[in-house]
């Protein structure tokens, strides 16, 4: 199966952010138990108030070191996914954010050189399996570190939810 068929190739417009984008910026605590659409509308408002209103399906978030640092809140990647973000490319990810992104099927690619090679609004093509970020505007391609196979497997499955449903059916079959 090609990367495109498995949903591991992404085309979208870039939104650039700096280092240490926290889960408080991604999903402010004040909206912790608000309805999902309300939570999503406040995504990243502390660092870019226009983002939630203007981001389009398929767009790519490009950031620096330690993206998603802070809380275990799955609402952080969830907000991005709800807004249609196709992939997050960051120089590095905080552990919990990366686990949660994979768990909900939001593509993520660690890539140290992306931030320097991409400007806001550039059209990008991402190949998650090869770990490539191609800037379609400048023609420059940079290479990241693709996620390990067990994590790509979960992403390919669409996250933990489908795996869990499969597991429930399996348990039922045995019973």
């Amino acid at each position: 199966m090609s990367a495109e068929e498995s949903g591991l190739r992404i085309l979208g417009r870039a939104w650039c952010f700096g280092d240490d984008i926290s889960t408080d910026a991604l999903s402010p605590g004040a909206y912790a138990v608000a309805p999902p659409e309300v939570r999503a509308a406040h995504t990243l408002e502390a660092v870019n108030p226009r983002f939630a209103a203007e981001v389009r399906p398929g767009d790519v978030v490009v950031a620096g070191q330690n993206f998603g640092c802070g809380s275990s809140r799955e609402t952080a990647p969830e907000g991005l996914k709800a807004l249609g973000v196709g992939c997050v490319v960051a120089a590095s990810f905080a552990r919990l954010f990366l686990r949660n992104a994979v768990a909900i099927g939001l593509p993520a690619l660690p890539c140290a050189d992306a931030a320097a090679a991409v400007a806001d609004g550039d059209d990008l093509e991402i190949d998650l399996e090869a770990g490539l970020v191609r800037n379609l505007k400048s023609g420059v391609t940079v290479r990241g570190r693709p996620l390990a196979a067990p994590m790509l497997d979960v992403l390919r499955a669409g996250g933990i939810a489908p795996l869990l449903r499969r597991r429930a059916r399996g348990a039922g079959d045995r019973a």
């Binding site: 138990v33 869990l164 039922g172």
Partner: protein, 425 residues
């Protein structure tokens, strides 16, 4: 080849005699911890996936701590649904609102033991690593998977060894030590790695101090923040009528690197807005006016913290342009502080007492900040928007520094307010 504590914990949990950093494995979980913000999505996913029970109802701990008492109808609905789920899934360990912050309860009640693996839906689950327990945070989808199966995948982390040396000076607390460490290695300095504390001074750190340090391990990006379970740990459990064995790394364990933290030279530290690793000596920010001071949280809401705060605040009043919020980490802490007269001292000084819970720390409710306001707190995060308005500023410090700052209305070196006797640490 010897193993670090993290390697031993994951080897045991995966039924192997040894593991190496980088290795993927499936670990059996000894206990799962859920708090009120994330419990409903976990239970909904579990039920929605076709599961009608949890893998082991005696190993699931459900705590109401973030939204206590319910500050909104939405929060009250969340609590109502959690209580219903707890009954439906017949879970045995449920802690009502006001019992305490979940990480404090794990430590205080001995809900997991050294060498075990406990996963929680909160990043600060690392706290009980202070007792040699393999504790770390996960998200809601993964918690649903854990509740269904009792297992989860892990990648074995490399371990950074932190050697503690020397003695803390008067007026300096273990919070200052972990802030100093954050400043030195950075908020991603232990990303995807475990922190293991050792060295000549590790045994000198009291359990409360270990909990503060392990709590902040996640602020350095770490998966685990582990202290060896030593004599003090064994006594901690024995006081709770539990016999546990000492647990630590092999003497020939291999570390990714070793960091030495010299305590002799250490003074009070403050993390400046808006990053936990933006750490300076308190002198660098002395005199900065503050609107709110906060003593509490899973980082520094313990009896030992309230003792230090009360000692500084005794006979003083909180500055008229500042308000002081105090939230004990648990009802047990509250009760003990009451017995010792600490709460009376704090209230006499003008402190506003809050329920045992997480409200102010995560900006959910109860002590949120307006635009342009400045807070100094004993908690763990100062990102933009953490405590309410993204235009507010948060400084993180020890209970001593926060108490001294509350009195002066400005960030203050607590050593200026040390009474000549007796000296506290």
């Amino acid at each position: 080849m010897g193993l670090t504590m993290a390697e031993k914990i994951l080897a045991r949990a995966s039924g192997q005699t040894a593991v190496v950093p980088g290795q993927f494995l499936t670990a059996r979980v000894d206990a799962a911890l859920l708090h009120d913000i994330f419990a409903v999505p976990v239970f909904e996913m579990l039920r929605g996936s076709g599961f009608s029970s949890v893998w082991d109802r005696a190993r699931v701990l459900v705590v109401l701590d973030h939204l206590v008492p319910a500050p909104s109808v939405a929060a009250a609905e969340v609590h109502r649904r959690i209580r219903e789920f707890v009954r439906e899934f017949e879970m045995l360990h449920f802690f009502e609102a006001g019992t305490g912050i979940c990480h404090q309860l794990v430590a205080e009640r001995g809900l997991a033991q050294p060498g075990q693996l406990l996963l929680g839906t909160d990043s600060h689950t690392t706290t009980a690593g202070a007792l040699g327990i393999g504790v770390t945070g996960i998200g809601t989808s993964e918690m649903a998977y854990v509740l269904a199966t009792g297992e989860l995948w892990f990648q074995v982390p490399p371990t950074i060894r932190v050697d503690l040396a020397g003695r803390l000076a008067a007026g300096v607390m273990w919070k200052d030590a972990v802030l100093e460490l954050a400043g030195q290695i950075g908020s991603d300095g232990a990303q995807y790695q475990a922190l293991e504390f050792g060295g000549p001074a590790a045994a000198d750190v009291d359990i409360a101090g270990r909990l503060t340090i392990a709590n902040m391990a996640v602020e350095l990006g770490a998966k685990f923040g582990l202290f060896p379970a030593d004599g003090a740990t064994v006594r901690h459990f024995r006081r709770r009528n539990m016999d546990v064995d000492a647990f630590g790394p092999d003497v020939d364990a291999r570390y990714a690197r070793t960091v030495r933290l010299d305590l002799e030279e250490l003074g009070p530290r403050v993390a400046l807005p808006h990053a936990v690793d933006h750490v300076k000596p308190v002198q660098a920010v002395e005199g900065v006016p503050i609107h709110q001071a906060f003593i509490g949280s899973c980082t520094n809401g313990r009896l030992e913290d309230l003792r230090v705060a009360a000692r500084i605040l005794a006979g003083h009043r909180v500055h008229p342009r500042t308000r002081l919020l105090v939230a004990p980490a648990s009802s047990q802490v509250e009760r003990d502080a009451m017995s010792e007269g600490l709460l009376a001292t704090l209230v006499d000084a003008g402190a506003l007492l809050m329920p045992a819970g997480c409200g102010p720390c995560f900006g959910g409710h109860g002590g949120v900040l307006a635009a342009g306001e400045r807070c100094i707190g004993t908690h763990n995060r100062n990102f933009p928007g953490r405590m309410g308005s993204p235009q507010a500023e948060i400084f993180l410090a020890s209970p001593a520094t926060v108490a001294a700052s509350a009195v002066r209305g400005r960030i203050t070196d607590p050593r200026r307010m040390l009474s000549p006797s007796p000296v506290w640490r």
